[in-house]
């Protein structure tokens, strides 16, 4: 058969979303949000001014991925339990799945795409590559954003201090030993 290549942005435009309904025996009254309300929003993403019209129910994570096509930030749980969606908001690490986009009018957002400077990787990114600090790579953007923020946070010198402060970022591939080594070497450099 022939493959029809389809441009990614075009694809996003025409794709519909599906949600499954599942038999969940814990029934109860559902408190569904009422139908959509849209708000205009102005913020900076990776240094650039961005204007967005967002459904007020949209999380910052979904706005970044679905509206701004910044696919580096990942969704692992949508519940603030895995850290895959970590971004920087006004210089601090934040779980983007746990905050609504509409709350970020005028904020400064940095995602993993915005970490490098003029084509030069951030020291944490360099160190992750050097130390093989990922396997599948799905948690990696979140790990790197947490680690980059950690460089500016109060954090003791030991490996155990780093382990503690990186424990909000789950890695099911178990790259933890390499993640700690990478961060320690980046701290040495930064």
């Amino acid at each position: 058969m022939s493959i029809t290549p389809i441009d990614r942005l075009e694809f996003i435009r025409i794709t519909a979303a599906a949600t499954s309904v599942r038999k969940d025996t814990k029934s109860g009254v559902s408190v569904a949000p009422s139908a959509s309300v849209t708000r205009a929003l102005a913020l900076r993403v990776n240094g650039e001014a961005v204007r967005l019209d967002v459904d007020t129910r949209v999380t910052l994570l979904d706005a970044l991925r679905e509206q701004l096509q910044l696919f580096g930030t990942k969704k692992g749980c949508d519940h603030g339990q895995c850290g895959a969606c970590t971004v920087h908001v006004n210089g601090r690490r934040v779980l983007s799945c746990l905050t609504l986009a509409v709350m970020h009018d005028d904020d400064d957002i940095i995602t993993v795409e915005g970490l490098e400077r003029n084509g030069v990787l951030h020291p944490v990114q360099e160190a992750f590559i050097e130390h093989d600090a990922f396997q599948c790579g799905y948690c990696t953007a979140g790990q790197i954003m947490s680690a980059a923020a950690l460089l500016n946070e109060p954090c003791g010198p030991s490996d155990d201090d780093v382990r503690e402060q990186m424990s909000g970022n789950l890695c099911r591939c178990g790259a933890y030993p390499n993640i700690v080594a990478a961060i320690q070497s980046a701290r040495g450099r930064a």
Partner: protein
């Protein structure tokens, strides 16, 4: 109501779904659904979390809102959730993936009754979920009567066949793309309903549809590891020699398919023993269908066997490593074949030495650090050395780049890297010039990324393809007029180290690979490689081995177990890439920490719903749960695994297999408390 909600394009359910067909349910023929029942096949709900409808809308928020409006009415029945509640109806499944599930060698009953020392106990392991950080997802794009599915699958070839049969379409009309997988560990091996649903939905609304599973879905929609109950009896002589092993397992399977966690299979050959009985029974419960999860069978099976061996070592007053060496299996006594290669004793030695095992005081509770109880435990690790047919192509391009392609997948284990490495080695060029393309059903066929078989299946094919490309290059050079190769036969031409040159001449007298292409006006040269296992499989038993040593520190006040040190030594044949191999070692050990101390999916037995279907209630290891981990490899090639002299077996699964029993044995050593029921949570130690 849902149909009229804003943005809704379709609501699809049992009543209006298109006709779907049950595909062949046969791993060996590469058609393998996650469960035999086809989604929306009937109007019965067999387990909590089963799909009853799918909503397609313009946006995720609209779809989610509409899903809340769907009303489903049920005639309620009482579910069967617990193994014990179904024990009366336990049955004996015959075979699983070609393996007999119930076998007897010798006479274990007589041997047990006469044994000088015996031990018998029941060990249990809970339902566990894979929980890769990337949830499964499927994007369906129809182009006329052709379907492209962008998948998160560990097996593009299996997905193509299974989806084709389910939709009643010819395989050639289905294209599966899965270039990267955010971890899988087994839950992305077979085709689960969401892949069918996205295809059905896209057809219905006549545009591409994206379907992402939520984390909650990941607990019911793509498999889990079955709960197991294992009754193990051991009989030994005073000197430690095993005379009987009886390993009797009960597992759960679902109402809609059969999957057996084959816990006892390893017990038939891991140690030398004349009398061995292994039995597996299954019970049907109202839970979704189990599926392979990293070392299916071995992982829970070794928890039971290796815990039991530790208990036997205490009964015999013998060192646990010594007990295992006394019972070393020099051949595979079940298959009655020699091992292709086996360095298990070397693993015990390397691991014990690095760990400092000789300093262990055997008495439980005798090693303390202030108030903290310190325990040292160990276990044997093992996993089969599986190999499947596989194919790859190596394309040399005019610009000097090399494409290495295969329909294998990389879920994080390093397949991209090792394939490029092998091709670079053979071609003698820098790895930066190699581009690896994987995870596309249009590429040369390859097996599932599971069963630790990728390295042994795909790397020999890659090597062959690279060699074939060089051979074709030599033939091409021989046709070049007015060149250093004029009047040379291909055999008198050498292609190595990035250059083609006449045999016996200095490489500098020849041409770079790409110049041969340019000067003959060829855009590319394509080498093909296909390799498959051969008669060696009937002559030898292929198995990887290891030894895992664990130190735990237990705070007696709060019964908290900290795994402070793990040393693992593995014999997995030749190590292809030391860096990715070590990372795989870390990976298995970290997952083993979860198996040992935290992972447990809890169901409400009243209605079958999952209580822990999120990553806060289903705890997996975080960074602070893992401290010092050492990974050692014997690194000796397996002379028979492939005929190409690579000698590498896979190592994705063995790395997890001995961790949980080693932890349990260390916890006993620290506290004198024998925990036979995973996970070892504080409540069990208080």
């Amino acid at each position: 109501m849902a149909e009229k909600a804003p943005g809704v394009l379709a609501v699809i359910h049992h009543g209006n779904a298109p006709t779907l067909y049950r595909p062949d349910n046969d791993f060996m023929s590469a058609s393998k659904p996650g469960e035999a029942r086809v989604v929306f096949e009937d109007d019965r709900v067999h387990y909590s979390g089963q799909y009853v409808a799918i909503i397609v809308a313009e946006t995720l928020e609209q779809a989610r809102y509409a899903a809340e409006l769907v009303q489903v009415s049920y005639a309620v029945e009482d579910p069967t959730i617990e193994t014990d509640a179904a024990l009366d109806s336990a049955y004996l499944p015959d075979e699983f993936f070609g393996e007999k599930l119930t076998t007897t060698r010798g006479d274990p009953d007589v041997a047990l009754s006469r044994a000088a020392v015996t031990h018998a106990a029941t060990y249990t392991t809970p339902i566990e979920h894979h929980n890769p950080i990337e949830p499964s997802a499927s994007v369906a794009v129809w182009n006329g009567d052709e379907l492209t599915l962008y998948e998160t699958t560990q097996w593009v070839a299996g997905a193509r066949k299974t989806v084709a049969q389910t939709l009643g379409m010819p395989e050639e009309k289905i294209h599966i793309v899965s270039p990267f997988i955010g971890g899988g560990f087994g839950c992305k091996g077979f085709v689960w309903p969401h892949s069918i649903l996205s295809a059905v939905a896209a057809k219905r609304v006549n545009r591409p549809v994206k379907l992402n599973l939520t984390r909650k879905h990941m607990f019911s929609a793509c498999g889990h590891r079955s709960e197991t109950k294992q009754y193990v009896q051991l009989g030994a002589e005073r000197n430690g020699r095993l005379v009987a092993i009886d390993h009797d397992t009960v597992v759960q399977t679902s109402m809609v398919d059969e999957f057996v966690e084959a816990c006892g299979n390893t017990s038939r050959f891991l140690y030398s023993c004349p009398n061995v009985r292994v039995r597996h029974r299954a019970v049907r419960v109202n839970v979704a269908t189990p599926t392979p999860m990293r070392a299916p069978g071995e992982n829970p099976g070794l928890f039971a066997l290796e815990s039991a061996l530790d208990e036997l070592a205490y009964l015999l007053n013998m060192d646990p490593v010594e007990l295992r060496i006394v019972n070393h299996a020099d051949v595979n006594e079940q298959a009655r074949r020699p091992w292709s290669s086996k360095y298990l004793k070397e693993c015990y030695r390397m691991g014990a030495e690095r760990f400092g095992w000789a300093k262990r005081a055997p008495q439980p509770g005798s090693m303390r650090d202030g108030n903290v109880l310190v325990g040292w435990g160990m276990a044997t690790a093992t996993y089969p050395g599986i190999r499947s047919p596989g194919a790859a192509k190596v394309r040399l391009l005019q610009d000097g780049h090399v494409d290495v392609v295969s329909a294998t997948q990389d879920m994080g284990g390093g397949t991209y890297t090792t394939m490029a490495q092998i091709a670079a080695d053979v071609m003698g060029i820098a790895i930066e010039r190699i581009r690896t393309v994987l995870g596309d059903s249009l590429l040369p066929p390859a097996p599932v990324s599971g069963g630790s078989m990728t390295t042994a299946s795909i790397l020999p094919a890659t090597r062959k393809a690279a060699q074939d490309a060089l051979s074709k290059l030599r033939h091409l050079a021989a046709t070049m007029p007015a060149s250093p190769f004029t009047n040379r036969r291909p055999d008198d031409i050498v292609a190595e180290g990035g250059r083609v040159f006449p045999k016996g001449a200095h490489p500098s007298s020849g041409l770079p690979y790409e110049d041969v292409l340019k000067r003959t006006n060829q855009t590319e040269i394509e080498g093909e490689g296909y390799t498959e296992p051969g008669p060696e499989r009937d002559k030898y038993a292929f198995q990887s081995f290891g030894a895992q040593f664990v130190e735990v520190r237990v705070d007696p006040e709060i019964a908290k177990v900290q795994i402070s040190r793990v040393v693992s030594a593995f014999d997995v044949g030749k190590i292809v890439n030391a860096k990715t191999a070590r990372s795989q070692g870390y990976s298995g050990v970290v997952m083993g920490v979860g198996v040992a101390l935290m992972e447990h999916t809890v169901y409400d037995s009243r209605d079958g719903s999952i209580i822990t279907s999120n990553l806060a209630d289903y705890a997996i290891p975080v960074n602070a749960d893992t401290r010092s981990i050492d990974i050692l490899f014997v690194d000796k090639p397996d002379p028979f695994i492939d005929s190409d002299g690579l000698g590498a077996r896979g190592l994705g699964e063995i790395t997890v297999t001995g961790v949980a029993p080693a932890v349990a044995n260390a916890v006993y050593h620290a506290t004198g408390r024998r925990i036979r029921d995973l996970p070892i949570t504080p409540d069990k130690l208080l």
